[in-house]
Protein backbone atom coordinates (compact mmCIF):
# COMPACT_ATOMS: atom_id res chain seq x y z
CA UNK A 1 0.00 0.00 0.00
CA UNK A 2 2.82 2.23 0.96
CA UNK A 3 4.71 1.28 -2.19
CA UNK A 4 1.76 1.99 -4.40
CA UNK A 5 1.38 5.46 -2.97
CA UNK A 6 5.02 6.19 -3.53
CA UNK A 7 4.85 5.00 -7.12
CA UNK A 8 1.75 7.07 -7.75
CA UNK A 9 3.47 10.16 -6.41
CA UNK A 10 6.62 9.56 -8.43
CA UNK A 11 4.82 8.93 -11.68
CA UNK A 12 2.40 11.82 -11.20
CA UNK A 13 2.23 13.99 -14.30
CA UNK A 14 3.53 17.48 -13.67
CA UNK A 15 3.16 20.41 -16.08
CA UNK A 16 6.38 22.25 -17.09
CA UNK A 17 7.00 25.76 -15.87
CA UNK A 18 5.18 28.34 -17.96
CA UNK A 19 7.19 29.60 -21.01
CA UNK A 20 9.63 26.69 -20.97
CA UNK A 21 8.81 25.68 -24.55
CA UNK A 22 9.33 29.23 -25.76
CA UNK A 23 12.64 29.53 -24.02
CA UNK A 24 13.88 26.24 -25.48
CA UNK A 25 12.75 27.16 -28.98
CA UNK A 26 14.31 30.59 -28.71
CA UNK A 27 17.65 29.03 -27.87
CA UNK A 28 17.44 26.78 -30.88
CA UNK A 29 16.51 29.57 -33.30
CA UNK A 30 19.25 31.28 -35.41
CA UNK A 31 19.93 35.02 -34.80
CA UNK A 32 17.11 37.17 -36.16
CA UNK A 33 17.79 38.65 -39.63
CA UNK A 34 17.88 42.20 -38.20
CA UNK A 35 20.83 41.34 -35.98
CA UNK A 36 22.64 39.63 -38.87
CA UNK A 37 22.10 42.71 -41.04
CA UNK A 38 23.44 44.96 -38.32
CA UNK A 39 26.59 42.85 -38.04
CA UNK A 40 27.07 42.98 -41.80
CA UNK A 41 26.81 46.74 -41.78
CA UNK A 42 29.32 46.93 -38.97
CA UNK A 43 31.76 44.86 -41.03
CA UNK A 44 31.18 47.04 -44.10
CA UNK A 45 31.69 50.21 -42.02
CA UNK A 46 34.91 48.82 -40.54
CA UNK A 47 36.16 47.92 -44.01
CA UNK A 48 35.29 51.40 -45.29
CA UNK A 49 37.13 53.04 -42.41
CA UNK A 50 40.17 50.89 -43.18
CA UNK A 51 40.00 51.77 -46.88
CA UNK A 52 39.66 55.50 -46.14
CA UNK A 53 42.52 55.45 -43.62
CA UNK A 54 44.71 53.38 -45.91
CA UNK A 55 43.88 55.58 -48.90
CA UNK A 56 44.66 58.70 -46.89
CA UNK A 57 48.01 57.28 -45.85
CA UNK A 58 48.88 56.31 -49.42
CA UNK A 59 47.83 59.74 -50.75
CA UNK A 60 49.85 61.54 -48.10
CA UNK A 61 52.86 59.34 -48.78
CA UNK A 62 52.53 60.01 -52.50
CA UNK A 63 52.30 63.77 -51.98
CA UNK A 64 55.36 63.70 -49.75
CA UNK A 65 57.24 61.64 -52.32
CA UNK A 66 56.38 64.09 -55.11
CA UNK A 67 57.35 67.10 -52.99
CA UNK A 68 60.60 65.38 -52.02
CA UNK A 69 61.49 64.49 -55.59
CA UNK A 70 60.69 68.00 -56.75
CA UNK A 71 62.83 69.48 -53.98
CA UNK A 72 65.64 67.06 -54.87
CA UNK A 73 65.48 68.03 -58.56
CA UNK A 74 65.51 71.72 -57.67
CA UNK A 75 68.45 71.26 -55.30
CA UNK A 76 70.40 69.37 -57.96
CA UNK A 77 69.58 72.01 -60.57
CA UNK A 78 70.73 74.77 -58.22
CA UNK A 79 73.96 72.90 -57.42
CA UNK A 80 74.48 72.30 -61.12
CA UNK A 81 74.20 76.02 -61.87
CA UNK A 82 76.40 76.98 -58.90
CA UNK A 83 78.94 74.28 -59.80
CA UNK A 84 79.13 75.45 -63.41
CA UNK A 85 79.80 79.05 -62.33
CA UNK A 86 82.48 78.06 -59.81
CA UNK A 87 84.07 75.79 -62.37
CA UNK A 88 84.05 78.54 -65.00
CA UNK A 89 85.70 80.96 -62.58
CA UNK A 90 88.30 78.36 -61.57
CA UNK A 91 89.10 77.65 -65.22
CA UNK A 92 89.52 81.36 -65.95
CA UNK A 93 91.84 81.75 -62.96
CA UNK A 94 93.83 78.67 -64.00
CA UNK A 95 94.02 79.97 -67.57
CA UNK A 96 95.45 83.28 -66.41
CA UNK A 97 97.85 81.41 -64.14
CA UNK A 98 99.10 79.21 -66.97
CA UNK A 99 99.53 82.27 -69.27
CA UNK A 100 101.50 84.04 -66.56
CA UNK A 101 103.69 81.00 -65.89
CA UNK A 102 104.13 80.18 -69.58
Amino acid sequence: MHLERNLERALHRADPAPGLADRVLKRLEPAPPRQVRARRWQAVAAALVLVVLGGGWVARHEMERRAGERARDQALLALRIAGAKVRFAQEQVRGIGSHTNG
Binding site: E64, R65, A67, G68, E69, A71, R72, D73, Q74, A75, L76, L77, A78, L79, R80, I81, A82, G83, A84, K85, V86, R87, F88, A89, Q90, Q92, V93
Partner: protein, 181 residues
Amino acid sequence: MKRIALTIAMALLLTPAAFAQRLRIDLPADLAARAAESVDVTLDGPMLKLASKFMNDDSDADARAVREMVSGLQGIYVRSYEFDKEGEYDRSILNGLRSQLGPSWKKIVTVQSRNKENVEIYVDTREGSNKVAGLVILSAEPKELTIVNLVGPVDLDRLSSLEGQFGIPRMSGRGKGKNHD
Protein backbone atom coordinates in the same frame (compact mmCIF):
# COMPACT_ATOMS: atom_id res chain seq x y z
CA MET B 1 64.24 72.77 -18.57
CA LYS B 2 67.82 74.00 -18.77
CA ARG B 3 68.32 72.07 -21.99
CA ILE B 4 65.23 73.64 -23.57
CA ALA B 5 66.39 77.12 -22.58
CA LEU B 6 69.84 76.38 -24.01
CA THR B 7 68.32 75.13 -27.29
CA ILE B 8 66.16 78.25 -27.59
CA ALA B 9 69.16 80.47 -26.85
CA MET B 10 71.26 78.64 -29.47
CA ALA B 11 68.45 78.94 -32.02
CA LEU B 12 68.14 82.67 -31.31
CA LEU B 13 71.88 83.08 -31.70
CA LEU B 14 72.12 81.06 -34.89
CA THR B 15 69.03 82.42 -36.63
CA PRO B 16 70.44 85.92 -37.29
CA ALA B 17 73.62 84.32 -38.63
CA ALA B 18 71.62 82.23 -41.07
CA PHE B 19 69.60 85.28 -42.10
CA ALA B 20 72.78 87.27 -42.53
CA GLN B 21 74.06 84.65 -44.98
CA ARG B 22 70.80 84.77 -46.88
CA LEU B 23 70.61 87.36 -49.57
CA ARG B 24 67.40 89.27 -50.17
CA ILE B 25 67.05 88.79 -53.89
CA ASP B 26 64.74 91.61 -54.96
CA LEU B 27 64.67 91.73 -58.72
CA PRO B 28 62.32 93.58 -61.05
CA ALA B 29 59.03 91.72 -61.25
CA ASP B 30 58.98 91.67 -65.03
CA LEU B 31 62.43 90.15 -65.39
CA ALA B 32 61.13 86.60 -65.64
CA ALA B 33 58.53 87.71 -68.19
CA ARG B 34 61.25 89.20 -70.39
CA ALA B 35 63.43 86.10 -70.13
CA ALA B 36 63.31 83.28 -72.64
CA GLU B 37 64.13 80.83 -69.87
CA SER B 38 64.14 81.31 -66.16
CA VAL B 39 65.02 79.28 -63.11
CA ASP B 40 63.75 80.13 -59.65
CA VAL B 41 64.84 77.84 -56.86
CA THR B 42 63.99 78.60 -53.25
CA LEU B 43 64.68 75.80 -50.84
CA ASP B 44 64.98 76.34 -47.12
CA GLY B 45 65.76 74.00 -44.22
CA PRO B 46 62.78 71.63 -44.13
CA MET B 47 62.62 71.32 -47.91
CA LEU B 48 66.34 70.61 -48.08
CA LYS B 49 65.98 67.90 -45.46
CA LEU B 50 63.17 66.42 -47.52
CA ALA B 51 65.22 66.70 -50.72
CA SER B 52 68.18 64.93 -49.15
CA LYS B 53 65.89 62.07 -48.10
CA PHE B 54 65.19 61.40 -51.75
CA MET B 55 68.83 61.29 -52.79
CA ASN B 56 70.15 57.78 -53.00
CA ASP B 57 73.59 57.52 -51.58
CA ASP B 58 74.01 53.76 -51.54
CA SER B 59 76.08 53.55 -54.68
CA ASP B 60 79.11 55.81 -54.52
CA ALA B 61 81.01 58.35 -52.47
CA ASP B 62 80.15 61.28 -54.75
CA ALA B 63 76.45 60.72 -54.30
CA ARG B 64 76.98 60.55 -50.56
CA ALA B 65 78.95 63.80 -50.67
CA VAL B 66 76.16 65.58 -52.56
CA ARG B 67 73.61 64.34 -50.10
CA GLU B 68 75.75 65.44 -47.19
CA MET B 69 76.24 68.85 -48.77
CA VAL B 70 72.52 69.32 -49.36
CA SER B 71 71.53 68.12 -45.90
CA GLY B 72 74.13 70.46 -44.35
CA LEU B 73 72.78 73.53 -46.10
CA GLN B 74 70.18 75.81 -44.55
CA GLY B 75 69.09 77.37 -47.79
CA ILE B 76 69.51 77.28 -51.56
CA TYR B 77 68.33 80.29 -53.52
CA VAL B 78 68.92 80.60 -57.26
CA ARG B 79 67.58 82.98 -59.86
CA SER B 80 68.74 82.52 -63.41
CA TYR B 81 67.42 84.25 -66.51
CA GLU B 82 68.36 83.68 -70.10
CA PHE B 83 67.29 86.32 -72.63
CA ASP B 84 66.89 86.21 -76.36
CA LYS B 85 68.71 89.48 -76.92
CA GLU B 86 71.17 91.68 -75.11
CA GLY B 87 70.29 94.58 -72.87
CA GLU B 88 67.18 93.03 -71.37
CA TYR B 89 68.30 93.77 -67.83
CA ASP B 90 70.15 96.49 -66.03
CA ARG B 91 73.41 95.30 -64.52
CA SER B 92 73.05 97.84 -61.73
CA ILE B 93 70.47 95.58 -60.06
CA LEU B 94 73.44 93.59 -58.83
CA ASN B 95 74.58 96.57 -56.75
CA GLY B 96 71.63 96.08 -54.44
CA LEU B 97 72.80 92.52 -53.82
CA ARG B 98 76.44 93.47 -53.31
CA SER B 99 75.46 96.08 -50.75
CA GLN B 100 73.86 93.39 -48.58
CA LEU B 101 77.13 91.54 -48.13
CA GLY B 102 78.57 92.38 -44.73
CA PRO B 103 82.20 92.43 -43.60
CA SER B 104 82.34 88.66 -43.13
CA TRP B 105 81.86 88.21 -46.86
CA LYS B 106 85.00 88.02 -48.96
CA LYS B 107 85.15 88.26 -52.70
CA ILE B 108 87.36 85.38 -53.76
CA VAL B 109 87.06 85.49 -57.54
CA THR B 110 86.18 88.14 -60.09
CA VAL B 111 86.12 87.25 -63.76
CA GLN B 112 85.52 90.24 -65.97
CA SER B 113 85.04 90.22 -69.68
CA ARG B 114 83.67 92.95 -71.88
CA ASN B 115 81.63 90.69 -74.10
CA LYS B 116 81.35 87.48 -72.15
CA GLU B 117 80.58 86.31 -68.69
CA ASN B 118 81.32 88.40 -65.60
CA VAL B 119 81.40 86.30 -62.49
CA GLU B 120 81.89 87.34 -58.89
CA ILE B 121 82.14 84.77 -56.15
CA TYR B 122 81.78 85.76 -52.51
CA VAL B 123 82.17 83.48 -49.53
CA ASP B 124 81.16 84.03 -45.95
CA THR B 125 83.94 82.99 -43.58
CA ARG B 126 82.50 83.53 -40.16
CA GLU B 127 84.35 83.45 -36.86
CA GLY B 128 87.68 83.75 -38.63
CA SER B 129 87.57 80.10 -39.67
CA ASN B 130 88.62 78.85 -43.06
CA LYS B 131 85.32 77.11 -43.52
CA VAL B 132 82.87 78.59 -45.95
CA ALA B 133 79.56 79.29 -44.22
CA GLY B 134 77.80 80.79 -47.21
CA LEU B 135 78.26 81.44 -50.89
CA VAL B 136 77.04 84.09 -53.29
CA ILE B 137 77.66 83.99 -57.03
CA LEU B 138 76.73 86.92 -59.22
CA SER B 139 77.06 86.12 -62.89
CA ALA B 140 76.18 88.64 -65.54
CA GLU B 141 76.38 87.94 -69.22
CA PRO B 142 74.96 90.02 -72.06
CA LYS B 143 72.10 87.56 -72.42
CA GLU B 144 72.09 85.91 -69.04
CA LEU B 145 71.84 86.82 -65.39
CA THR B 146 72.41 84.31 -62.61
CA ILE B 147 72.34 84.81 -58.86
CA VAL B 148 73.18 81.96 -56.53
CA ASN B 149 73.03 82.06 -52.75
CA LEU B 150 73.88 78.97 -50.72
CA VAL B 151 73.44 79.29 -46.96
CA GLY B 152 75.49 76.87 -44.89
CA PRO B 153 78.79 75.04 -45.25
CA VAL B 154 79.94 74.74 -48.85
CA ASP B 155 82.90 72.84 -50.22
CA LEU B 156 83.83 74.80 -53.35
CA ASP B 157 86.01 72.08 -54.83
CA ARG B 158 83.26 69.56 -54.36
CA LEU B 159 80.72 71.98 -55.82
CA SER B 160 82.77 72.62 -58.95
CA SER B 161 83.26 68.91 -59.51
CA LEU B 162 79.56 68.13 -59.28
CA GLU B 163 78.82 68.54 -62.98
CA GLY B 164 78.18 65.24 -64.64
CA GLN B 165 77.86 63.42 -61.36
CA PHE B 166 74.92 62.10 -59.44
CA GLY B 167 72.47 62.94 -62.19
CA ILE B 168 73.80 66.47 -62.53
CA PRO B 169 74.34 66.98 -66.25
CA ARG B 170 77.18 69.09 -67.53
CA MET B 171 76.42 72.74 -68.19
CA SER B 172 79.78 73.56 -69.73
CA GLY B 173 79.26 74.97 -73.18
CA ARG B 174 76.19 76.81 -71.83
CA GLY B 175 73.22 75.18 -70.41
CA LYS B 176 70.66 75.09 -73.13
CA GLY B 177 68.61 72.46 -71.40
CA LYS B 178 67.88 74.29 -68.28
CA ASN B 179 64.90 73.12 -66.40
CA HIS B 180 62.19 75.60 -65.80
CA ASP B 181 60.81 76.07 -62.36
